[in-house]
Symmetry: D2
Subunit: 392 residues, 4 copies
Amino acid sequence: MNLPAAKIRMGFVGGGEGAFIAQAHRQAAGLDGRFELVCGAFSRNPQNTQDTGAALGLPASRCYSDWQHMLATERTLPEAQRMQLVVIVTPNHLHAPVASQALSAGFHVFSEKPAALNLAELLALKDVVLRSNRLYGLAHTYLGYPMVWQAREMVRSGVIGALRKVIVEYPQGWLSADVAGQGNKQAEWRDNPELSGLGGCIGDIGTHAFSLAEFVADQPIQQLCAMLGVHIAGRQLDDDASMLFKMADGASGVLIASQVCAGEENPLKIRVYGDKGGLEWCQEEPASLIHRALDQPMRVLRSGVGQPWLCAAATQRMRLPAGHPEGYLEAMANLYGDLANAIRGHAQGQTSGHDAPGVPGIEVGLRGMAFIETVIANHRGDAKWTELVCTP
Amino acid sequence: MNLPAAKIRMGFVGGGEGAFIAQAHRQAAGLDGRFELVCGAFSRNPQNTQDTGAALGLPASRCYSDWQHMLATERTLPEAQRMQLVVIVTPNHLHAPVASQALSAGFHVFSEKPAALNLAELLALKDVVLRSNRLYGLAHTYLGYPMVWQAREMVRSGVIGALRKVIVEYPQGWLSADVAGQGNKQAEWRDNPELSGLGGCIGDIGTHAFSLAEFVADQPIQQLCAMLGVHIAGRQLDDDASMLFKMADGASGVLIASQVCAGEENPLKIRVYGDKGGLEWCQEEPASLIHRALDQPMRVLRSGVGQPWLCAAATQRMRLPAGHPEGYLEAMANLYGDLANAIRGHAQGQTSGHDAPGVPGIEVGLRGMAFIETVIANHRGDAKWTELVCTP
Amino acid sequence: MNLPAAKIRMGFVGGGEGAFIAQAHRQAAGLDGRFELVCGAFSRNPQNTQDTGAALGLPASRCYSDWQHMLATERTLPEAQRMQLVVIVTPNHLHAPVASQALSAGFHVFSEKPAALNLAELLALKDVVLRSNRLYGLAHTYLGYPMVWQAREMVRSGVIGALRKVIVEYPQGWLSADVAGQGNKQAEWRDNPELSGLGGCIGDIGTHAFSLAEFVADQPIQQLCAMLGVHIAGRQLDDDASMLFKMADGASGVLIASQVCAGEENPLKIRVYGDKGGLEWCQEEPASLIHRALDQPMRVLRSGVGQPWLCAAATQRMRLPAGHPEGYLEAMANLYGDLANAIRGHAQGQTSGHDAPGVPGIEVGLRGMAFIETVIANHRGDAKWTELVCTP
Amino acid sequence: MNLPAAKIRMGFVGGGEGAFIAQAHRQAAGLDGRFELVCGAFSRNPQNTQDTGAALGLPASRCYSDWQHMLATERTLPEAQRMQLVVIVTPNHLHAPVASQALSAGFHVFSEKPAALNLAELLALKDVVLRSNRLYGLAHTYLGYPMVWQAREMVRSGVIGALRKVIVEYPQGWLSADVAGQGNKQAEWRDNPELSGLGGCIGDIGTHAFSLAEFVADQPIQQLCAMLGVHIAGRQLDDDASMLFKMADGASGVLIASQVCAGEENPLKIRVYGDKGGLEWCQEEPASLIHRALDQPMRVLRSGVGQPWLCAAATQRMRLPAGHPEGYLEAMANLYGDLANAIRGHAQGQTSGHDAPGVPGIEVGLRGMAFIETVIANHRGDAKWTELVCTP
């Protein structure tokens, strides 16, 4: 007998009116019909919270004035009603505090990146995660794209051969002018170290490039040599970063992340080259994975359900036949889908541990934070190379 | 005071396990959180219906053995529970019967295209629609893409000048081999005139190209001269179509639709040229609209919230900043969003009539069916040009 | 013993200062170092002829006041000095008269297309060619591109399977405005039927699309159904053409040629689809040939010396390694190269006949002219289909 | 009165049968009809020299057994016959010796890059150049592309604003395997420091990327931080390079050059970003220059005679209307064209100095060599940043 599949109940911290990323989370979670929004502490402004909740169809009683209150109240509700998952979409400084308390209160957590403001805070959070017996995931959305999984699989299975060179770049242009000074709220808090952490561009998008490189190359970055820049008077945090790096299994590479590449939108791109061929993928055309086998014409592997040359990990992250574009929300929905599977398994006692397979977890967060701190340390110092280590 | 926004309750006819398009509808409807699936008659097979409903979280009581029973039962439920919208995702032969009865039973309808099996049936359905005081929409998904609206607006506002030439093409390759004979269910019913209607390729995708051309060019096609082909022994319906056409306001053009263009995925593409410039849009790269102004370098207008050079009709159909791809499901979700607005307005007594602004309605269906019949008539006859008229 | 390879001596008819296509011919002929310009009748204006000749390094004695004088004088020169090849780059109405007399005077001919003003004149020229024992070539430059030969070879060898569909298009925008009225000399004579012939766009570029289709598909077009347009008041000849066609071995297709596609440059493009796959080539990116094999990821074959997957006919038309772009002049130079081989062979008594292998000859000219007349006849008549026959 | 334009007489050192680059030089020089090959010392092998010369139409008397003999003999010929320009297309170790002696013998020189084997040799050559009153040019072919000049002009004129970021990359794949070990002659000598110099990839293509960056950004690179790699056992010189750099006027950047990017052909690419916009150009699609102005849709500037939005420096380097591809040979021909202008001016006493405007000269050579040595020094040392200075 098939019992109806109950939806997973989620609550949001952050994401009042006007917050793009929170809306994206709600859309991504809604796409496959496996989640239900049941409560939220959307804003420090109670009216915003009430308005947001009303617009989302929530009763006023589950629109909380602050996240502490939300955690405290929800845990007292009957199990069949109470929130199961806390989604954290606040500015960075709240990610770790909310996550820690939510886990401690017995909720699963899906957090925007970075996991914490700095490495010390992150290590403390990691302790909480490890002791919690709850699931913890990070919204590294780009790791949800199916052709990224295809690329990783082609690296893992040896199709590309031993990796030699990795080039990952993430040029954006939205901080080319002083948009914080012109009232852009996100630009404002992202340039405030107390809210954002020590990394500007390097934290916001450099970590995406970094995580993508380690994910696809399937080996960690061990050493790096970095140059940061700030291009607007009064701007506090870096808006531009470039670096050389060396990976664990012999590949070397280049990482570029910038928010002053005027006119660029969001073309996060990775190229990896091994002794048998190369791969190229760009987020703005996410359905195409270019494969250049040594001494063969280039091929373009295209996303689409039912292509026998695609691996299972890629195919199961697709919804549509080839030629029907899927994008950013679908990628994020893939993380939500894997999270749903893990939460369901956890509820049925089948899952232990804090990682949802397929979802970037605390280790990805830890490496990302170590990356930020290592880049800044190298930039400030005289040494050419700095080891990337995940301890303070 | 903001009351929570109740979700619109929808029921599905068709869409048992394995039906791609029904899943797409559910995902699209789920994306923006404005719909709730409350019931379904998913399959002629009761077990499939129960299994599908269970997987979707429906109670068994609202998984109906057939659509007649669903309509009859749902209309007796309390208003706060009962289905408001019937989504029809069956093979073509049921579109009109289900729609007619659903409208007559007081439900709004959102139907897969075509609206009916033939022009006579469609005209009968149109009568029902006009008398129903209910909303009727057709899932012409490609008309939900934001940059299609941008193109139409640039034509309407005169940016392109008086239109001279329209080239619309829709090459697919999935019927290059005898896939129906190899067990592809969709290929099978689509080649059965009793289930599919008189058009094969011309009905399945030719109508998409046709509707896109009339939508973007903002003028009807008046005459056409067509050539159809069938390329597999035993195949009953056309798998390839090409035609010349003349439009009402002086433009002429070419329409190509084929399902034997081996290797092609789904690159529905339109180009329109006027005396001041040209536009080009392709569904496989839906974020880009190429604009060639006469005696200017070409520009690429890119989808993305907040681009001041995009029109309101386009921008309100976007969810994400530039560079974050949106695709097919988002386009369909735009139709669902406009439908939700209209249903909400209807419930509040603010909307009259059967059309949901922004959603292709019965007139688009009528023209699409007239197109199919005109193409077939022209192909079979000796005349060079045949008038496209919406009467049998 | 290797004797130094003497250059082939050529004379130009037409191509005074400001004539783009004549300069292209001289550059293409110069590229591989096998031709030497020795004389010319560049213009009806004697001063233009003298100035042009001087700028090209010719002595005044071999800058002729008219082409009749050039033919008469050159044939009297010692064999080691006299012109061997006449290159005809005048407006269309002189192509056949000059070619006929040049052949009759014992010179080889390389003529801009079309071969003549109309079919009757062309058939007369054909008689002269056949009787002449001299080589006759037509500057169908696009047939000199190496990847066009690769495409043809893949069709011929069965890689694509039995052809089903051919789509060839040639959209330009340069006649979108009344440029003839604004002093554009080429636009002016091209719109004068006495200088240009009966075809406007269809003659200028439609024939390129037609010849490319027959060349790549390796089968003749047998029937067509056409629509022509004129979009500027006072313009005499067509500026836009679209047609359906049927080929000899079962393929059908569409041909689009237009000079009012505002903003388009020169993207002559062909796609052919068979039961085993499809090919796509566009002149604006001539190094890439897209190959979509049925049920395989698409491949991009790229031009470049030394790629083992390219055929000999393609490779011998390349000069550079992959990634070093070759273009229009190189394509034309390939025709000159094949012409040089044939002239050399002819001089050594090894070649008989009037065709230079690899160079479009009088038959291509004949079919192109028949195409123009058939299109115009079909456009003007009521019949849906008109046979393309090479007799008046 | 117009006197016929005599061609410039050139002789080749190097370029026996099978040498791709020498053939490219002859084709490029032949394209515009301004040069005439009159002699050569094509090979150390006298038979190869005679055969090559014969194939090129030279009399045996001007096919010299060695370059010293060629210089000595040619200088004694009557002025109207003797070579004016020496083109050097040998392996690297001969570039400086031949150039020095040729200049001293009164000939102009056009040399393949690098100008010398090392900085010391280059500085000595520079002295010769400066004292010679002859023209000296370097075949930095990529600096002959018209859209590269357009990019530079847009930087110079302030369209892009103050430059912030420069990304230049040159990934090739041809050394991914041990092709030297498999008999590839070029790979062989390029990996021999005595013939090639200290740089492998960095010398062969890194200098192209470097020179392009300095040319387009219109400011010198002052400091760099580099990482080199060697990926084949037994290979002596680097096959992969990546570096960070800082420029004189405040821009920073990244340079990537690699010959182990398996499957890559020759996509030399540059992106520059200023506070008003960005530019992007790639050698494999040389007709397109992407311009992203801040807060405007992206534009694509396309090569083609007569586009009023292109600068004079770009337009005068084009031969064809838009949409007619020009490529590598045309770019090189542009250098030859500028060289011809300067040689003509020099012959008429109008030019003084050793630089041909438009042609990369000894300073470009000097900076390129300093670049190679700086990269190697930085790679070998511990310092993060190394100043790029043009002294040993």
